[in-house]
């Protein structure tokens, strides 16, 4: 398939900046109700009429790639199609409330949060879940903070977190942020954790091992039970990075593999739009003995209310004090008129506290809940089936070498003697987004590819065509690529050498 992206503007610039369309300066203090010493003297900002605004952003949108435009096979990013019905549900005005509302007056929101906690716990094989972390990396941080609180509570002084070399960079940054020393674990010859190297690395200093399974080249860690035993025997905890959970839906559960803590990238696995880089949401699940350390507050059913049954609450490792989020107003809503189950907030007994100012990325959580309800068991199982089928089928069509295997939902092809980043630029003219390049480092000139379940046979063949054509291009052709996008090859070096980060910095520059 060929592709031509819309581009606007003249010979020197694309669509003009807001500030180039219209900018006005004024003195905000003039005529203000506030004294002069509290107000600013000047403000210069653009203000566009609604038609101008609509054209500006419509043009910018047409100069942007999205999963609704075509394949977006960025490895480890799981860019799926985002169903429209979830957007419609998230826009329900009844859900648009302030986070400080008396919990008794927002039972609908609490019902959804509780339902999502339960779904995620079941899908991950975990006992308790917090929905507060606003992104996957924030989930990692929450999980490691919980591990740290657990060790401190038990008087264990542990200083290290072990992370495989192929892990996401966020794992390393998270462990460092939490104050741990990082012990990097080399990959074994088969691309998986080298069990002997792990044995040498594990010690009484080990706070946790952070692991992605399947790992970043789509390989399942077959020795996971042995790995878990090794870490647990040393008194450490096992952390599951949920980035690749899409490959495992209904096939295996981190809790069953021996993981104690995990985060879910609900914007990946459960398909909520990522909006140009965010928001996401990174709920964290833990086994029962860690639940008392989760962030506050959590949601639970009010015992004896409405439809609450033993079966419903069996997976919830609750406990802890009722949170002081609702003042006793002497006029409770003890009996919901419809006999519905009622929900309350509570603070886990040894909670680490807060990891978000309020309750997390609510609009993302709504979409994730709606998506899980739509798919159900069959849909979740089929998602992992088709994601894995697609990865293997696409890998089989490529002219490039694809080391290791068998793969789950992603694989890393190698561009070999070619520059993977250049091959990616060559792919841009074919109506596809290229894969993640040059990562992980265990595969030279890696092109880490994850088609997800939303591509079909024909789409995968088009994608393979783009790979193979670009891979076969001459160096000169690749250097000149891309030619059909809104911009030709962008000079990233000069942007970093001479940072110009606002339109103020462009004055006198152009």
């Amino acid at each position: 398939m060929n592709y031509d992206q819309a581009r606007y503007g003249d010979e020197t610039r694309n669509e003009p900046l807001l500030s180039e369309k219209n900018a006005t300066a004024l003195d905000p203090g003039e005529g203000s109700a506030l004294p002069d010493d509290l107000t600013r003297d000047s403000l210069e900002l653009p203000g566009l009429s609604e038609p101008e605004l609509a054209r500006h952003y419509t043009r910018l949108s047409q100069m942007n790639w999205s999963v609704e435009a075509g394949p977006y096979p960025l490895g480890s990013c799981t860019m799926k199609y985002n169903p429209s019905f979830a957007d419609a549900v998230a826009a329900d005005p009844n859900a648009a409330v302030h986070p400080d509302r008396d919990p008794e007056t927002v039972q609908g929101n609490l019902e959804l949060l509780h339902g999502l906690q339960e779904y995620l716990a079941t899908i991950g094989g975990m006992d308790a879940v917090t929905l507060q972390p606003p992104a996957g990396a924030a989930g990692e941080f929450t999980g490691i903070a919980v591990a740290k609180a657990y060790h401190e509570h038990h008087g264990n002084d542990r200083s290290e977190v072990i992370i495989p070399a192929s892990a996401h960079g966020t794992n390393f940054a998270t462990a460092a942020m939490a104050g741990y020393d990082v012990v990097e674990l080399p990959s074994g010859e088969d691309g998986r954790v080298d069990v002997e190297a792990l044995e040498a690395a594990v010690s009484e200093d080990t706070a946790a091992l952070m692991l992605t399974n399947p790992n970043t080249v789509g390989l399942f860690e077959r020795d996971i039970v042995e790995i878990a035993d090794m870490v647990h025997d040393a008194g450490g905890l096992l952390y599951y990075d949920g980035a690749n959970l899409n490959a495992l839906l209904g096939r295996a559960r981190p809790g069953d593999m021996g993981f104690d803590i995990m985060h879910y990238n609900v914007h990946k696995t459960f398909a909520t739009p990522h909006g140009g880089g965010g928001p996401g949401a990174g709920p964290v699940g833990v086994v029962e003995e860690l639940s008392e350390f989760l962030p506050r507050p959590r949601v639970r059913e009010v015992p004896g209310s409405g439809g609450a049954t033993d079966a419903d609450t069996a997976t919830a490792a609750d406990g802890g004090e009722l949170a002081d989020h609702s003042h006793d107003r002497g006029h409770g809503h003890a009996d919901d008129a419809d006999g519905d189950t009622e929900y309350e907030l509570f603070d886990p007994e040894h909670s680490i506290g807060k990891v978000h100012g309020f309750s997390g990325n609510w609009l993302v959580l709504i979409r994730a809940y709606a998506y899980i309800r739509r798919l159900g068991d069959e849909g979740l199982l089929d998602a992992s089936a088709k994601a894995t089928l697609n990865a293997n089928y696409l890998a089989s069509l490529l002219d490039m070498d694809v080391p290791y295997g068998p793969f789950h939902h992603e694989f890393a092809a190698t561009a070999g003697e070619r520059d993977a980043a250049d091959v990616a630029k060559g792919m841009l003219d074919y109506g596809v987004h290229p894969p993640t390049t040059k990562w992980p480092e265990m595969v030279p000139e890696a092109m880490l590819t994850e088609p997800t379940e939303v591509e079909n046979k024909r789409s995968l063949e088009d994608l393979a065509h783009a790979f193979n054509e670009a891979f076969a291009d001459t160096d000169e052709e690749l250097d000149a690529a891309p030619t059909k996008t809104a911009s030709r090859r962008v000079d990233q070096t000069s942007a970093a050498r001479n940072p110009r980060l606002s339109w103020h910095a462009l004055e006198g520059d152009e």
């Binding site: 500030s19 506030l34 648009a96 089929d382 000079d491």
Partner: protein, 446 residues
């Protein structure tokens, strides 16, 4: 069989026909999808979560019913989460799928639209704060404050290890800050408020050579406009501590720009523009001085040129980030709030400088006017301090929980601060109901 996955009980969003699936399996030389999985039997799961598949209409209906359980109250709530009317055009334009379903701009040539929009967002914050660098979002105000504190630990100009914040800081911010600094050498200490803004004398006693970071808010958590920002900045400066100001973009349109009172960093909740009430979802504002450029957490968009010498934008200074620097990154933030930042920029451009300043003026006038109406009631004092206010103010009553419950019965939500203090927040969204709120206060306190 040619039905798609959805028709055969599969994922409704996997587009494979049964024939296509069969052909792909055949090409791979396996009989069944399950044969592709390389999972040891000991940890295999049978797929039975007990979650039934539902049709789209059923899911939408279920969730609408769920949300209908929320009580319909007119909210006079703020304390860090502010909602203003968001023009419909912002919803429409930001919902274009090219924005909504796109990803981080790792290939700048094909993502110029979003990169330019984020560059414009950064630029608007630069103008509002007066500082030269703004990133293209943190999760929320709490994360932005916590990251700012960690920044003070990384820069060479500060030697201390104490982070000073107001004792009245909102719990969510304080709690997040405590967690973020837990792995660093920093410790958090507080200074008191007097009359709902910084107690300057107490702060002067608290700041010393061990202070790395001083944080002040304007407006404060109770809506008071801080009159002594410049003096607080001087105190921080005298001890080589970073001075960080917390605010929001609507307030910044009118209030003195933080750079002019010596702010090194500005943080806050930028979702006051563009983000409707969303149960606490946020947009963390982060801006700072040029000298901290290489220590900034989060993504930055910069201007460059393409091979035709046309202006182009790209993510830049990525060597600060965790996918390159790993444990030496400035932060672990990867996913951010880019789409919310896009909406904030759209809302700002829709209002323009006059609209922004007008909105901010209303936040001052309406708060003063509603406070005066409440103050005229017997047994009600508002505001409880002698400050100018932005959107919100504290209210003294005899039995705060009882008054709040009475207001709730009459359809209004306000904050309860303690047994004798309430807080009321007035914006363009609830100002039309302010007379009814005052009448309800009169009934309840009579």
């Amino acid at each position: 069989m040619s039905g798609r996955s959805a028709g055969t009980g599969g994922s409704p969003f996997a587009p494979h026909t049964a024939d296509e699936t069969a052909a792909m399996l055949d090409a791979l030389g396996v009989d069944d999808e399950a044969d592709l999985f390389d999972i040891p039997e000991a940890v295999a799961f049978d797929g039975e979560f007990g979650i039934p598949q539902r049709g789209e209409r059923a899911v939408v209906g279920d969730l609408r019913e769920t949300f209908a359980r929320n009580d319909d109250l007119t909210e006079f709530l703020g304390r860090g989460h502010y909602s203003h009317y968001v023009p419909a055009v912002v919803d429409d334009l930001s919902s274009r799928s090219e924005f909504l379903t796109s990803y981080t701009q790792y290939q700048p040539e094909i993502t110029q639209g979003f990169l330019q929009a984020l560059f414009e967002y950064q630029s608007i914050l630069v103008e509002l704060t007066g500082l030269p660098i703004a990133n293209c979002s943190m999760y929320d105000a709490a994360a932005a404050l916590a990251e700012a504190a960690l920044l003070s630990d990384r820069v060479r100009s500060t030697t201390g290890s104490t982070v000073l914040v107001p004792a009245d800081l909102r719990d969510g911010k304080r709690g997040t800050l405590d967690n973020y600094v837990d792995g660093s050498d920093l410790t958090v200490e507080t200074y008191p408020y007097a009359d709902n803004t910084a107690d300057l004398d107490a702060l002067a006693d608290a700041v010393d050579g061990d202070t790395a970071f001083v944080y002040a808010e304007s407006p404060t958590v109770t809506g008071a406009i801080e009159p002594e920002l410049a003096a607080i900045g001087d105190l921080a400066d005298e001890h080589d501590a970073l001075f960080c100001v917390g605010s929001d973009p609507v307030a910044l349109s009118l209030l003195e720009e933080p750079a002019s009172v010596g702010a090194d960093v500005v943080v806050g909740e930028a979702g006051a523009l563009g983000l409707p009430a969303s149960y606490g979802m946020g947009l963390g504002l982060f801006a700072c001085k040029e000298e901290f450029l290489r220590q900034v957490p989060g993504r930055l968009v910069g201007k460059s040129e393409d091979a035709e010498d046309r202006r182009a934008f790209t993510l830049t200074l990525q060597t600060r980030e965790q996918h390159i620097r790993k444990e030496r990154a400035t932060s672990n933030i990867c996913t951010n709030q880019a789409w919310v930042a896009l909406r904030a920029a759209m809302h700002a451009a829709y209002l323009g400088p006059e609209g922004l300043v007008g909105l901010a003026e209303d936040c001052v006038r309406d708060a003063a006017s509603v406070a005066a109406s409440l103050d005229a009631l017997d047994g009600v004092t508002a505001p409880l301090d002698d400050r100018h206010h932005f959107r919100e103010f504290s209210v003294g009553v005899e039995d705060a929980p009882g008054v709040a419950a009475g207001l709730e019965d009459r359809g209004f939500a306000v904050h309860v601060l303690d047994d004798e203090t309430l807080q009321v927040c007035v914006t363009d969204l609830n100002v039309d109901a302010a007379d009814d709120l005052v009448a309800a206060f009169a009934e309840v306190t009579a």
